[in-house]
């Protein structure tokens, strides 16, 4: 099954001995020796997949139950016993590679349930009251009208108390902090409408606004629930991405036992065993072994770093070639990762100060509306002198101006925008990010993993004998070194039997095929006379003689050139901040025509640069993926991360894009601009509607029928306008015009080291 390829399935966790212990730690205890764990399975997409995964897993010994959730693309597995069965391996064999999901604390979302229940109650009340109101409007006789008003009051009360409290609570918390938001005029309007109607019902008056009050709550709750569903879907999708941070590590005890220990319980001084493919859990020093570490996620360096006894290592680096033993020097909460979290908390600036568009509108809107109502009351008191009439008209003003359309104007557009973004492979964390990204004037990129792919691209391979190439693929398939992965991904290695495979960290891999000894790696090691010939980087040597040579280049992300061009055409200043050495950084910058770039930056220096830009009044979009970018992502005005980013970076970013290419960035920008335009239109519609309705209300001519009609009509208009948000042509145009530029340009990769 190879459809639904939206989510990356690389970085398989399977095959590592620690995987089973990791599952055990991630599981929840159900009692009676049963445990439950949730795994993301991005590959499921139909009934066939569901059955394959469920029945396949049930046959694994130790698994009691397996249940696929297709909406979230997860499988919930119940297992019994001491140690978890190897579920990841079983899934791999079934053809549906899976991985553990992010923190699985609040699996069910209580807020969504509350919103839907409130929506159901409000809907029930609004429908029934509307039904009764129709007969009142069409002239029911006096006794019937009074009975209907009383029934309506009884129906409206639970809607007001149960469903309305969502608005009351939010309005109250805003007022208590001396602010105002859209919920303040809503709450005031709804409560006054209910109070007045109740008074009129008791005194058998002709007009009651129970229908307006409840349908207002109902409409607004629809908008709010959709908004919540959108954010929840993003949260689930982001948590379902491959988690890069380890949950624990294999600790070597002094008596030789090996225990898998959760990461929080690792104390300084403990010895930790790291197999090839494990990530370093905490900061420490290597005490035994030689290997190479992939630092792309941690520091942004492209070239793997060679480590041996005594080398210091940071949490987040990936062990590539040989087994290592390290001594922990810090606890997890004092390690590199935790340091970044602290930097992030300190850096969070522009975002916290940002005020939502709807809140800014409310700050203007509610004083105007409340002042108008007060003036209306005074005017009628002076003109007529009757308390009841004056209050009735003033409250009618509040009801008719109650920002039903205004309350929907922003969230409904943002729900549509989030959906369009989702279709284009972009997840957005919340609506304010869509507002903020429309304002940016500068785009800052990280290099490694953001502009470039982590794996270099194989540009040429030549060997006199195709058999040698197949051998090279087979050998490369055994290693996790980025260059080996590129070779393995490129060729087929069917039917090659390797023996005596040894990986020499920093040099290459040696293996025996039939009676020849092959060496794949650095030329001076793989060839007997390797240093004689210049410009040889990675070669395949057979018994010391040259059998094949491989050339690599840094692979830019697909369509990076187009995307950067599109951003520039949109009037943005483009810059690059890299943690990598100046050499590779300047090459990438040159390939993308980025003049403003800096290399060898520490995480704090990236933050400092962003803060300088912010102080200059620039609104910066930061795009980054590494652990070292996380503080910068938090410091920027708005931020994006690829789905391959470190967990901490994905959590810090406002947007996460799921595709390999960089084209989601201009697409997001285009959709955000379109959304901003529709929001402004919606505001204009809502205000225009008020401008017409207000004089009628002030004149005292509003009846419940007019109020109900006006309110529904304006809400529907605003929703219909939001539905016009398109993703297709408008979003793609800037990219396609940029196609006229040069084809993909590449950079030759310096030999490792």
């Amino acid at each position: 099954m190879s459809c639904c390829a939206d989510l990356p399935t690389s970085v398989a966790a399977g095959g590592r001995p620690a995987a089973r212990d990791e599952i055990s730690i991630a599981s929840r205890d159900l009692g009676r020796d049963l445990h439950q764990v949730e795994l993301a399975v991005p590959g499921v997409h139909c009934a066939g997949c569901i059955r394959a995964v469920e029945t396949g897993l049930m046959q694994v010994s130790g698994i009691e139950d397996a249940r696929v959730n297709l909406s979230t693309k997860r499988v919930s597995v119940t297992w019994c016993g001491e140690r978890a069965p190897d579920i990841l391996d079983a899934l791999e064999k079934l053809g549906f590679p899976g991985h553990l999901t992010g923190s699985d604390d609040a699996r069910k979302d209580p807020e969504l349930g509350r919103l839907i229940r409130a929506l159901a109650v409000a809907g029930f009340s609004a429908m029934n009251i509307m039904l009764l109101s129709v007969s009142v409007w069409s002239g029911a006789d006096l006794a019937t009208r009074d009975i209907f008003h009383w029934i309506s009051a009884a129906l409206a009360l639970p809607a007001l108390l149960y469903s309305g409290r969502i608005f009351f609570a939010s309005a109250w918390s805003a007022l208590r902090h001396g602010r105002t938001n859209m919920d303040v005029p809503i709450s005031v309007g709804v409560c006054l409408a209910f109070g007045l109607s109740l008074y009129d019902t008791i005194h058998s008056g002709p007009h009651a606004y129970f229908d307006a009050a409840t349908s207002l709550i109902f409409f607004l709750l629809i908008g709010r629930t959709l908004d919540h569903v959108m954010r929840e879907r993003t949260r689930v999708a982001v948590r379902g991405l491959v988690q890069l941070a380890p949950r624990g590590a294999t600790v070597l005890r002094e008596d030789g036992r090996r225990d898998y220990v959760p990461i929080d319980e690792i104390e300084p001084g403990l010895h930790i065993a790291l197999a090839a493919g494990d990530r370093i859990p905490v900061d420490g020093t290597i005490s035994e072994g030689t290997s190479e570490l992939d630092c792309t996620i941690a520091t942004g360096e492209t070239a793997p770093r060679r480590v041996e006894t005594g080398s210091g290592v940071q949490a987040g680096m990936l062990n590539l070639s040989g087994p290592l033993t390290m001594v922990a020097s810090k606890r997890a909460d004092a390690s590199f990762l935790a340091e970044m979290t602290r930097l992030m908390a300190a850096a969070e600036g522009g975002r916290a100060r940002y005020r939502r568009l709807a809140d800014r509108a409310a700050a203007l809107y509610s004083p105007v509306v409340h002042a108008t109502a007060a003036l209306t009351f005074l005017g009628w008191m002076l003109a007529v002198g009757d308390w009841h009439t004056a209050i009735t008209v003033a409250i009618a003003v509040l009801i008719i101006t109650c920002p039903c359309a205004l309350g929907l104007a922003v969230p409904i557009v943002q729900v549509m925008a989030a959906r369009r973004l989702f279709e284009n492979g972009v997840l957005v964390k919340d609506g304010s990010a869509i507002e903020r990204i429309a304002e940016i004037d500068t785009a800052v990129f990280d290099k490694t993993g953001t502009l470039t792919l982590a794996q270099p691209r194989l540009v040429s391979k030549d060997a006199s004998d195709p058999h040698d190439l197949a051998v090279a693929s087979a050998i490369a398939g055994l290693s996790r070194h980025p260059l080996s992965r590129s070779i393995a991904a490129d060729g087929a290695a069917a039917g090659i039997v390797l023996s005596d495979v040894v990986e020499h960290p920093g040099l290459g891999i040696e293996a025996r095929v039939a009676d020849s000894v092959y060496r794949l790696g650095r030329a001076e090691w793989a060839l007997a006379n390797g240093t004689l010939e210049p410009n040889l980087n990675t070669v395949l040597g057979r018994d010391g003689r040259l059998a094949g040579r491989f050339t690599f280049e840094i692979a830019l992300r697909p369509r990076a050139v187009d995307a950067i061009d599109a951003l520039r055409k949109a009037g943005l200043h483009v810059a690059m901040l890299s943690g990598d050495a100046p050499g590779p950084a300047s090459e990438v910058a040159e390939a993308l025509d980025i003049e403003d770039f800096a290399a060898s930056l520490l995480p704090a220096e990236k933050v400092a640069r962003l803060q300088t830009m912010a102080a200059d009044g620039r609104k910066v979009l930061m795009v980054g993926d590494g652990i070292n970018d996380a503080p910068a992502l938090a410091a920027a005005y708005v931020s994006m991360a690829p789905s391959t980013a470190a967990d901490i970076g994905r959590n810090a970013a406002d947007f996460v894009f799921l595709r390999d290419g960089l084209e989601p960035i201009p697409t997001t920008l285009a959709i955000a601009h379109e959304a901003g335009r529709l929001v402004r239109q919606n505001f204009a519609l809502a205000v225009g509607y008020n401008a017409i309705a207000l004089p009628i209300a002030i004149a005292g001519l509003v009846t419940p029928l007019i109020a109900a009609l006006a309110m529904s009509f304006s809400s529907i208009l605003v929703v219909a306008n939001a539905l016009r948000l398109k993703s297709g042509e408008l979003a793609r145009r800037p990219v396609s015009t940029a196609k006229t530029r040069t084809g993909p340009r590449q950079v030759a990769l310096e030999p490792a080291e």
């Binding site: 696929v68 297709l70 229940r117 029930f124 009764l132």
Partner: protein, 62 residues
């Protein structure tokens, strides 16, 4: 007028019954996997497990 005396309570009762049914379906987890529910009708087995049984109830062990 007299017909209203039983028609209105009847209407409200029906509405309340619908509301209660919705609340029950929400609580029993029928909205947790809408895409999955749509696909599962194509599966032959699983008669007793249909309807999104909550993951808390272990399957085979009962």
């Amino acid at each position: 007028m007299s017909s209203l005396l039983y028609l209105i309570p009847l209407a409200l009762l029906l509405g309340a019954a619908a509301l209660a049914a919705f609340m029950w379906s929400l609580r029993s987890g029928q909205y947790e996997d809408l895409d999955g529910a749509a696909e599962r009708i194509f599966l032959e087995v699983d008669g007793d497990r249909a309807g999104g049984g909550s993951p808390e109830t272990p399957g085979k062990s009962q």
